[in-house]
Subunit: 168 residues, 2 copies
DNA sequence: TCCAAACCCTTGGATGTCCTAGTATATTGC
DNA sequence: GCAATATACTAGGACATCCAAGGGTTTGGA
């Protein structure tokens, strides 16, 4: 977004919280704000890596999910549940992926309410190439050291479980 | 978005990565995906807490920032830099806050290019009340224990510094 | 002095997310 | 068997974010 700031704005916010008598929640406020900002940075990196493929992160996630399904097809409601996004967001992503020729909609054989999303050959190829780039340009250069990665997975895994994402 | 899943979808994605020969980046992939999902959960909680005030998180952040400025006013480009969002996002937020009577635009005394955003009395009051609710309903019940909060602040602080957010 | 480069904000366009219906299809219960 | 309820997807609307481009203001070098 521009030049680095001379001071950490989140650390400053934390000081402001402490000065205003909210010291008891200043630390979690800072942690949560840092998560919001980190997500923003990571999303920008991911979108940048995917741009050459004409993909956004939302569309890539759907492609990747389909590429791991044995049949290369999933019901939309299943995709919505696994990606943990609103059904309308899946509809939106499928519309665009279908326009790009990367997936096709098909009817469910036994349930007339359900629509299946199926990867095309082109979609499968693109998913593979996009994943390779993400792995090398983003995940392979995350900037987190090994121990911190483990800490994040543990801390955020507990959080997500407590938030009701999954029971396992 | 509905019922909890029987398995952690991010742990499954990690297994898929390992099975496909990308074991070297499977852990950071999982950590980054977990950050994306955690941000989504936290944002939903925050938006829920702010809804009764007619505020979104973006608008709240701007109100809070102004409330900590001594004069209660800031140039738009300064707000953009401190909140680390695009200038157009600030324009958008100010438009809506101004319509709601919570801030006003005014001309900079010496630089004709610059627009100042100033908190109204109503805006200052609302910021205070909204902060109280966020503190008690979100930050005070984050679900992170004290040590994990410290870990997050440390890990994400390092990340943000390396990403060029600040130099301090 | 004066014009080009830099800076500031806004408008318009593309995306994505959620919410609130609304339509169609399944399932359940009486 | 049929009506009531549940489920699946989509359409339309509100917001937020970014990028690209445009018009006004300042600054700085020739």
């Amino acid at each position: 977004m521009g030049t680095p700031l001379p001071r950490d704005p989140i650390a400053d916010a934390r000081l402001n919280w402490e000065r205003h008598g909210w010291a008891d929640v200043a630390a979690p406020m800072a942690a949560i704000t840092a998560i919001m900002r980190t997500q923003q940075i990571l999303l920008a990196r991911i979108e940048g890596a995917l741009k050459p493929f004409g993909l956004t992160f939302a569309r890539y996630e759907l492609l990747a999910l389909l590429s791991f399904a044995r049949s290369g097809a999933l019901p939309m409601n299943k995709a919505s549940a696994l990606l943990q996004v609103h059904p309308t967001s899946v509809t939106n992503a499928v519309d665009r992926l279908q326009d790009a020729g990367l997936v096709v909609r098909s009817r469910h054989p036994t349930d007339g309410r359900t629509t299946l999303i199926e990867l095309t050959a082109e979609g499968r190829t693109l998913a593979k190439r996009a994943t390779a780039v993400l792995n090398s340009e983003v995940f392979g250069q995350s900037g987190f050291d090994g121990q911190d990665v483990d800490q994040l997975i543990r801390i955020l895994g507990t959080f997500r479980r407590n938030a009701g994402d999954f029971t396992g």
